[in-house]
């Protein structure tokens, strides 16, 4: 079936963890085991893996396994079902659901039928859904359950282009009667019926797909303006797989845990496309709230998370340690100390002196391995972090407890991966060198630019924005500012658009100050303000758990979140953190005043992105009164 593409595979191949890639990365055609598109690879994997477990999902509290054959069958039925309902090549289908296997089935089903899959965050409102469906010109929409369906029903008359809405869960919807709605099992039946009439139709569509065809749309979180749909081609994703396989080891025996939104390129790569190449097993967390429990149960071999998650795990451990017996606490601190000594070497890839290693071995045996088991990190070969800056302190803490954690960098527009640290060359504090096959440069104004086959095709129906995103010589403008060291390691200092020019005419990169602030356990996020102002100020979102603990330990009375933010001692605490950060910066870059955001924000709020980062523009608008109060 792949003869044609194998014929194209003129490049010499190399085996990486049992998967064949071009020996020279970054060359056309990009192939993974001879496949040049996502669905070809999907087809080949399902045929070869068959009854092996591809996914696990919890059902009524019990982990159930689903095979590669299930993956293939259901995806095929979805693809054929949609074709029978009139889906044409190049049309978009939106998916509005939490992570679950049907999400992946829909992704592969749509792509196999020649369509383009586009994810919608479950935290998006009905009006955001209307915008996304209309902007992408979606023909079909998958929704998870009654809650998400209600969003569609609210805006049904605003999205006339939708032919059908397919619902994953029947619960609570037994008497649903809507001409455009059907359930997933009904779609499966349609797919089966279509297959009976048109045998091999799905396989034929897969064979038609070219590497340059758009495979998915990813709407960027849009910290400014409306979200834009980034078009990623098959080749883009395969280039990302190629780079990922080289820089980060994945194997077929790996267990993984999927919990970040699949609409996000990071989780999509790590939980859908990388496992297609590696044939690792993906376990779906029950809900964002149960991630830590699911971690323990799954004990993943590799784990990617945003810094916020790594911070949470760290806070949990510290709280547990404080509540331990005095002996337990002493042992914990001694173990961390021994771990830190070793981390100073291993983190930087240096050989560990035997004394340090022996000391670590004892504490590892007594404390650390138990800690790792408790966290579900006992089998973790590699932890990964990205999508936001992480504190070097935190990185080294994880290395100290024996969890190798490395930082990488990428964005939707370059298919999620452009640089990463590796165990061979780890430079903590930087996001590492460019991944194989990707070139990196710093423009005159400091902007980071990348070039590679992973660079996206452009924004969906938005040539103007696309043109702004590429340089004249075809490099991608990341919009980030940074610097390269002599070894090629990249350090990111901020967003170019966020650069503040104070009334005094000074250029300041707020992200640098913000990420320093965020490294405090008491600050979960911060937005520095000062454009065209006399001095810098800052809005701060406190870390609820840690500040509550602080208040409780010091007997500072508080009731709800607002009263916690209003407590004088809490303001002083944050003030001290701000002062400490101020010392690291020049006078003009120092924060003169700050306010706490006294509302506990959730992902549903406009001010937060789905990965819980504050959006500068929204924050500035919504909390204008607080800001004005500081000037």
């Amino acid at each position: 079936m792949n003869m044609q593409h194998l014929g194209q595979t003129a490049n010499p191949q190399v085996l990486i963890n049992g998967v064949s890639f071009n020996a020279d990365p970054g060359q056309r055609p990009v192939v993974v085991d001879g496949c040049a598109t996502i669905t070809q690879l999907f087809q080949q994997r399902c045929a070869a893996q068959g009854a092996r477990t591809a996914h696990r999902e919890k059902d009524m509290g019990i982990w159930k396994a689903y095979s590669w054959q299930d993956y293939w069958d259901h995806s095929k039925w979805i693809g054929l079902g949609l074709m029978s309902l009139g889906l044409k090549r190049g049309e978009v289908v939106s998916i509005l659901s939490e992570d679950r296997r049907e999400w992946l089935y829909s992704d592969m089903g749509v792509q196999g039928a020649g369509g383009i899959a586009s994810g919608v965050y479950t935290t998006d409102s009905a009006s955001q859904l209307a915008y996304l469906v209309n902007d992408s010109d979606s023909r079909f929409l998958f929704v998870e359950n009654d809650e998400q369906l209600d969003k569609y029903l609210e805006i049904a008359d605003q999205v006339p282009g939708l032919a059908k809405v397919i619902i994953y869960e029947r619960e609570g919807l037994h008497d649903l009667d809507h001409e455009k709605c059907l359930f997933i099992d009904e779609l499966y039946e349609m797919g089966k019926a279509y297959e009976a009439q048109h045998p091999g139709a799905y396989e034929a569509e897969i064979a038609k797909t070219r590497p340059e065809d758009t495979a998915l749309l990813i709407y960027t979180s849009g910290t400014t303006g409306m979200p834009k749909g980034a078009m990623l081609s098959n080749e883009n994703i395969l280039a990302s797989i190629e780079a990922g396989a080289r820089a980060l080891e994945f194997t077929g025996n790996d267990e993984q845990l999927c919990f970040l939104p699949l609409c996000h390129i990071l989780e999509r790569n790590v939980s859908v496309y990388f496992p297609l190449a590696a044939t690792s097993t993906v376990n779906f967390a029950e809900s964002p709230e149960t991630v830590f429990d699911n971690m323990q149960e799954v004990s993943p071999a590799t784990f990617f998370a945003v810094p916020r998650v790594w911070e949470k795990i760290y806070s949990r451990v510290l709280v547990l340690a404080q509540e331990a017996t005095p002996i337990g606490r002493m042992a914990f601190h001694a173990a961390i100390k021994a771990g830190r000594k070793r981390a100073e070497y291993v983190m930087h890839g240096k050989p560990v002196p035997s004394g340090v290693a022996a000391n670590y071995a004892i504490w590892d045996f007594l404390v650390l391995r138990n800690l790792r088991r408790m966290l579900g990190m006992d089998k973790m070969r590699r932890g990964g972090t990205g999508a936001a800056p992480i504190s070097p302190e935190l990185l080294s803490w994880y290395w100290s407890i024996g969890v190798p954690l490395i930082e990488g960098y990428g964005m939707t527009e370059n298919a999620g991966l452009s640089t990463t640290n590796t165990f061979e060359s780890n430079a903590p504090g930087t996001v590492g060198p460019a991944v194989p096959g990707v070139k990196l440069r710093i423009a005159e104004d400091g902007e980071i630019q990348t070039l590679g086959l992973n660079n996206f095709q452009g924004y969906w129906r938005n040539n103007e924005k696309t043109a702004e995103t590429f340089t004249d010589d075809g490099w991608l403008r990341t919009g980030d500012v940074g610097r390269l060291d002599e070894k090629g390691n990249l350090t990111i200092t901020g967003r170019i658009k966020d650069i503040i020019i104070t009334a005094g005419g000074k250029n300041i990169t707020p992200a640098e100050i913000e990420s320093r602030l965020k490294f405090s356990h008491y600050i979960s996020d911060a937005v520095v303000i000062g454009d065209a102002r006399k001095y810098l100020t800052c809005l701060i979102m406190i870390d609820q758990e840690n500040v509550e603990k602080f208040a409780q330990d010091r007997k500072i009375p508080f009731s709800d979140f607002a009263s916690l933010c209003a407590a004088e001692e809490v303001v002083q605490l944050i003030g001290a953190e701000v002062e400490a950060v101020n010392k690291e910066f020049a006078r003009v870059e120092q924060i003169k005043d700050f306010r706490l955001i006294n509302v506990l924000l959730t992902a549903e709020d406009d001010e937060l992105t789905a990965t819980m980062k504050l959006k500068r523009s929204f924050v500035e608008k919504k909390h204008k009164a607080l800001i004005d109060d500081m000037y």
Binding site: N145, D146, E147, L149, D150, L153, E154, E171, G172, L173, L176, E548, A551, Q552, K555, I556, P557, F558, S559, D560, F561, S563, V599, L600, T602, E604
Partner: protein, 257 residues
């Protein structure tokens, strides 16, 4: 506004290894009715038990008239004027109504005043006067609740801690008892701290409300403000938002603002 009559600061209480109250702070001013709302297991009753000395807090302070009283024996706390009307009435079933009321005044010796208070209780709860010689165990649930409140009043308390007075009572009886609580507050100036699951009736009665969830206060404010809160409406008052299909199984996420 002077010093609050009752102030709780950063209270933590445990049942064995289980932390039932995880840092609660609240205030009750003299003459106020303050309600603490919350679902089963939120820690409401534990909070009252910790105030009245039945349980000792692990951490934190209970200030009564500015003086710390946490960890004192229950009988000492009663003598300070804090009366606990426990959940599920707990009247003495084999004693008569009259005897139950007398026990409420156990720590007092001013006979004439006690008799006046007994008449006052009968005044507020005429049904108890009718059944004064009947064994308390033969009373209906509502009457037992009235007796438990009446018994508490016999101490002339500075503050009454009421643990779910609406529990297991018919809506009509609940209305009746809460109307009497209202009168006791306005006419006799009894300060009350009321723990309730029935949020609607509690917020109608109270001046100030606190919402507890798994051992923590998640929201507080005047009763009017809490009544207006969307979260309170959908999680405690049972308001159904207009669903798209005329029915709705899923609940919005709580934000507590």
């Amino acid at each position: 506004m002077g010093e609050p009559l009752l102030e709780i600061k950063n209270l933590e209480s445990f049942y064995g290894p289980i932390m039932a109250i995880r840092g609660v702070s609240l205030k009750v001013d003299k003459g106020q009715i303050v309600t603490v709302l919350g679902a089963n297991g939120a820690g409401k009753s534990t909070l009252l038990k910790t105030i009245s000395g039945i349980m000792d807090p692990e951490k934190g302070e209970v200030l009564f008239g500015g003086k710390p009283i946490q960890g004192e024996e229950p009988h000492k706390i009663v003598s300070r004027g804090i009366v606990h009307v426990p959940e599920g009435r707990e009247v003495f079933p084999l004693l008569t109504v009259n005897e139950n009321l007398s026990l409420g005044a156990y720590t007092r010796s001013d006979k004439a005043e006690i008799e006046r208070d007994r008449e006052m209780v009968f005044d507020y709860f005429p049904i108890l006067a009718e059944r004064r010689d009947q064994e308390a165990g033969t009373l209906s649930g509502g009457q037992q609740q009235m007796l438990a409140i009446g018994r508490g009043l016999m101490l002339r308390p500075k503050i009454m801690l009421l643990d779910e007075p609406s529990l297991g009572l018919s809506p009509l009886l609940v209305q009746e008892i809460f109307a009497i609580l209202r009168r006791l507050n306005t006419e006799e100036h009894v300060t009350m701290m009321l723990v309730e699951q029935n949020a609607r009736i509690a917020l109608e009665l109270a001046d100030i409300g606190y919402v507890m969830e798994i051992g923590r206060i998640v929201m507080d404010g005047t009763a009017d403000r809490l009544m207006q809160s969307e979260d309170i409406q959908s999680f405690y008052l049972g308001h159904q938002e207009e669903g798209q299909r005329g029915e709705k199984r899923w609940k919005r996420k709580k934000t507590w603002r």
